[in-house]
C-alpha cells in the first residue's frame, strides 16, 4: 500500500516481470496482426466486421489471461502467447496440397462411419475431405466459404454464444479466425454417419485460429467429432472456438479429441446453446499438448433440455491439462450430467473446475457432477474445484470429487494371477478411465481412443 511504511516490499521476481513484459509485447503483435488483416476483412459482411472489431477491442482491453485471473490460476499462458512472433495467417505454412492422404489417414475414422472435413494448419484441405454427395438436410463446408455464400444462420449465431469478454483467446479467435467448419442440419433431419472435423498441424510455429459453428435445427439429429492432431513434434498454438446451437428437440452427440504434439499449446472453448427439449452429449478427450486448456460451457436456455459434459484426460511428463466447465441452468426442468476423469503421471498438472449455475427461475434443475483423478506419481498434481451457484430453491445438485492413487491391493491381486506389474498397472488405469470411453458410440473412434490411452500409458 502506498504510504504505508510497514508494508512488506513488493517481491521482485525478474523472471516473472520479464514474462509479463513479453506478454504485453505479444498483445501488441496480435493487435498489429489484426490491423494487417484489414484489407482481407473488407470483403466480409458488415455484421462480421463489426463483431471482429468489438472482439479486438475486448482483447485490447483485457489482453491475455494471467494467473491472477481466478479462472486461469493454475495455467500460465505466457509461453503460449509468446510462441508466435508474427501471428499472421499463413506464415511458415506449407501448401495444403503438399500433404497427402497417407500422411494423415491414421487420424481418419473409417469411411463408412464418417463424412470428413480436413484442415491443415487451419487451412481447409479439400483433397483430404469427403464433401461430395452429402446426405439431404446437411450443409457442411469451410466457414470462409459459408461466409462468402451468405449462410443465414451465421449472422444469427456466429460469435453470439462464445463471448469475447470471457477471455483473450476467444476475443482473439473472433477477431482473427481464418477458417473452420460450418455445419447446418435442417429441421428434423437425421444425419448419419458422423461428421468428422479433423485439424492437423504439419509445421512448427503456426498459430491456427480455428472457428467452428455447429447448428442443429429443431428436431435434427447428428454426431460431430472434432479431432486436433499433429504429424510433427513441433511447438505451435491452436486456438479454437466451437459454437454449438441445438434448437428445440435437437439431439447432438459431440466428441472432441485432442492428440496434439506434446510441445503444442492447445486452447479451446466449446460453447453450447440448447433450447427446449434439446439433448447434447459432449465428450472431451485430452491426451496431447504441452499446455491444454479447454472450456466447455453449456447454457440450457429452454425447458427440459439435457446436457452431458464428460471428459477424460491423461497427462504425463510436464504436461498441463486444464478443463473448465460451466453448466448454466437458465430455465426450469433441465437435467445436466458431468463426469471428468484424469490420469496424471510424472510431473503433470491437471486442473478441473466445474461450475453449475442455477438461475432464479430454473426450478426442478437436476445437475450431477463427478470428477475423479488418479495420481500415478508423487510429482503429479491436480487442482479440482466444484463451484455451485444456486439461486433457485427446488433443485437437485450433487457433486463429488475424488483424488487417489493406484490401489496396491488390486495391483497385488492381478499380479498374484500371473499378470506382470506393468500390465496390471495398465489394466487398473484403463479400468479407472473406462467409464468415459464407454460412452463413445462410434466404434472406430472408441478403438482409436483406447489405443491412444494404452499407448500413452506405456512410456
Amino acid at each position: 500500500m502506498p504510504g504505508t511504511l510497514l508494508a512488506s516490499p513488493p517481491l521482485h521476481d525478474p523472471r516473472k516481470e520479464k514474462l509479463q513484459e513479453r506478454t504485453r509485447e505479444a498483445k501488441v503483435r496480435y493487435l498489429m496482426a489484426f490491423d494487417a488483416g484489414s484489407s482481407r476483412r473488407e470483403k466480409e459482411p458488415e455484421w462480421l466486421q463489426a463483431r471482429r472489431a468489438s472482439a479486438i477491442s475486448h482483447f485490447e482491453q483485457n489482453g491475455f489471461p494471467t494467473v491472477r485471473d481466478e479462472n486461469w490460476k493454475y495455467t500460465d499462458v505466457t509461453a503460449a502467447a509468446n510462441l508466435i512472433s508474427e501471428p499472421q495467417f499463413g506464415l511458415n505454412v506449407p501448401a495444403v496440397e503438399d500433404i497427402k492422404s497417407e500422411d494423415v489417414e491414421a487420424f481418419f475414422l473409417d469411411h463408412k462411419n464418417s463424412i470428413r472435413i480436413v484442415f491443415l494448419n487451419g487451412k481447409l484441405a479439400p483433397h483430404l475431405s469427403t464433401l461430395e454427395h452429402l446426405p439431404q438436410g446437411l450443409t457442411l463446408l469451410g466457414l470462409q466459404e459459408a461466409i462468402t455464400s451468405g449462410e443465414e444462420v451465421l449472422q444469427q449465431h456466429l460469435g453470439r454464444h462464445a463471448s469475447p469478454e470471457d477471455n483473450g483467446f476467444i476475443a482473439l479467435n473472433t477477431a482473427l479466425f481464418e477458417d473452420g467448419a460450418f455445419i447446418q442440419v435442417e429441421k428434423d433431419a437425421k444425419i448419419e454417419p458422423a461428421l468428422h472435423l479433423l485439424f492437423v498441424n504439419t509445421a512448427p510455429l503456426t498459430a491456427a485460429k480455428v472457428r467452428n459453428l455447429v447448428f442443429l435445427g429443431a428436431g435434427a439429429d447428428a454426431t460431430v467429432v472434432e479431432s486436433y492432431a499433429s504429424i510433427t513434434d513441433d511447438a505451435y498454438l491452436t486456438n479454437i472456438v466451437t459454437e454449438i446451437v441445438a434448437e428445440a428437440g435437437a439431439n447432438l452427440d459431440h466428441y472432441k479429441e485432442q492428440v496434439e504434439s506434446t510441445n503444442a499449446f492447445h486452447i479451446a472453448t466449446t460453447q453450447i446453446h440448447a433450447s427446449d427439449h434439446a439433448t447434447v452429449q459432449s465428450h472431451t478427450f485430452t491426451f496431447g499438448g504441452r499446455l491444454s486448456r479447454h472450456d466447455a460451457n453449456a447454457i440450457m436456455d429452454g425447458e427440459f433440455t439435457e446436457v452431458t459434459l464428460n471428459g477424460l484426460y491423461l497427462a504425463s511428463g510436464s504436461q498441463v491439462m486444464d478443463n473448465h466447465t460451466v453448466r448454466d441452468h437458465a430455465k426450469p426442468n433441465c437435467k445436466s450430467f458431468e463426469e471428468y476423469v484424469g490420469v496424471l503421471d510424472d510431473k503433470a498438472v491437471g486442473v478441473f473446475n466445474g461450475k453449475i449455475f442455477v438461475r432464479p427461475d430454473a426450478q426442478k434443475t437436476d445437475a450431477i457432477q463427478n470428477n475423479r483423478a488418479l495420481l500415478l506419481s508423487r510429482g503429479a498434481e491436480v487442482n479440482t474445484k466444484p463451484q455451485l451457484e444456486i439461486f433457485a430453491d427446488d433443485v437437485k445438485c450433487t457433486h463429488g470429487a475424488t483424488i487417489g492413487e493406484l490401489d496396491d491391493e488390486a495391483l497385488f491381486y492381478l499380479r498374484s494371477r500371473g499378470i506382470a506389474k506393468s500390465a496390471a498397472r495398465d489394466m487398473l488405469i484403463y479400468a479407472f478411465a473406462h467409464a468415459v470411453l464407454d460412452n463413445v458410440t462410434i466404434p472406430t473412434l472408441r478403438d482409436q481412443l483406447e489405443q491412444q490411452l494404452m499407448q500413452r500409458l506405456r512410456h
Binding site: 497385488f412 498374484s416 494371477r417 489394466m427 487398473l428 473406462h434 467409464a435
Partner: protein, 258 residues
C-alpha cells in the same frame, strides 16, 4: 511306499510387517499330492504365511528360505510365482471395477502360458475352457460378464476364487480362510471344487481357523501355528482334537516349553 518329490520346503522362515515380527521360524515340507492344513488362533500368523508365499510386498522376510520346485521362491515377483504354479485364494478377494472377469482371466491365463514358453490360448478354446470350469464350482456363467469381484456376494467371491484356481490349474494352491463367510451349501460346493482339482502332482495348503472345512477337504497333515511358529503337527485327527479342546492346550504347551 517311496516318498513323493518335495514341492515346497520352508526353512526357518521369519517375516515382519513394519516393526512387528509375525513369522518366527517356520519349517514345513510339502510334497506332491499332499494337502496340508494350517490351523491356529487369530493372530498366529496363518494369513501372513499365505501372503509371504504369494509374494506380498508389505511383509519383509528377515530370515530363512523357501524352496519351491528347487528354486528360491522368495526371489520371485508375485507374477513369476503365479507363472510357476503358485496360487493364493484370497481371504478377502479384491473388487476391481472396470476390469471384466473375462479380460482378467484371459490376461492371467495368457501371462502364465507366456511365462512357460507357450503361445496364447486361442480365444475359442479359452471360452470353452472357461465355460467348462464354471460347472466345477456351480458358478453362474453370467458372473463372467461382470467386473472382477465387483458387487459379488461373499459366497460368490469365494466361488470365483476357486473357479480361478480351476482355470489357472496351479501346482501349489494356498487357500486362505476360504471357508470364512460361507454357509454350509457354499462350503460344500467350494470344497467339492477343490477336491476335484486335486491330482497326484499338485498340492494344497489350506489355512483355516475352524475344523469345519476339514470335514470336506481332508488333509494329510495338520499343523498348528502359534505365535509365528508351528507348535504342533499331526494327521487329520489333530484337527478333531483341536475342535474339542480348542487352542488352549497348545498355548499352554508353548508357554511351558519356552
Amino acid at each position: 511306499m517311496s516318498e513323493k518329490p518335495v514341492l515346497l520346503e520352508i526353512k526357518n522362515l521369519h517375516a515382519r510387517v513394519e516393526e512387528k515380527e509375525i513369522l518366527r521360524g517356520i519349517d514345513l515340507v510339502v510334497r506332491e499330492g499332499e494337502t496340508h492344513a494350517i490351523m491356529g488362533p487369530n493372530g498366529s500368523g496363518k494369513s501372513t504365511l499365505a501372503a509371504v508365499l504369494a509374494g506380498r510386498e508389505e511383509f519383509e522376510v528377515t530370515a530363512g528360505e523357501v524352496i519351491y520346485k528347487g528354486k528360491d521362491l522368495l526371489d520371485m515377483a508375485p507374477e513369476e510365482r503365479a507363472g510357476e504354479g503358485v496360487f493364493l485364494a484370497f481371504q478377502y478377494p479384491i473388487e476391481i471395477p472396470g476390469v471384466s472377469n473375462m479380460s482378467f482371466l484371459k490376461a492371467a491365463v495368457n501371462a502364465i502360458r507366456l511365462h512357460n514358453g507357450e503361445d496364447e490360448m486361442p480365444p475359442v478354446d479359452f471360452l470353452k475352457m472357461v465355460k467348462e470350469k464354471t460347472k466345477l464350482v456351480e458358478m453362474d456363467p453370467s458372473l463372467l460378464n461382470r467386473s472382477v469381484n465387483t458387487d459379488f456376494s461373499g459366497g460368490e467371491k469365494k466361488r470365483f476364487e476357486i473357479f480361478q484356481m480351476a482355470v489357472l490349474d496351479p501346482t501349489l494352491s494356498i487357500l486362505d480362510e476360504t471357508d470364512s463367510g460361507l454357509d454350509i451349501d457354499a462350503l460344500r460346493i467350494v470344497s467339492n471344487g477343490v477336491n476335484q482339482l486335486k491330482t497326484e502332482k499338485n498340492a494344497s495348503i489350506v489355512v483355516t481357523h475352524y475344523q469345519r472345512l476339514l470335514n470336506y477337504i481332508i488333509p494329510d497333515f495338520v499343523h498348528v501355528l502359534y505365535n509365528g511358529r508351528i507348535a504342533q503337527s499331526g494327521g487329520k485327527e489333530l484337527a478333531l482334537q483341536l475342535e474339542e479342546e480348542g487352542y488352549e492346550s497348545i498355548k499352554l504347551e508353548e508357554a511351558v516349553t519356552r
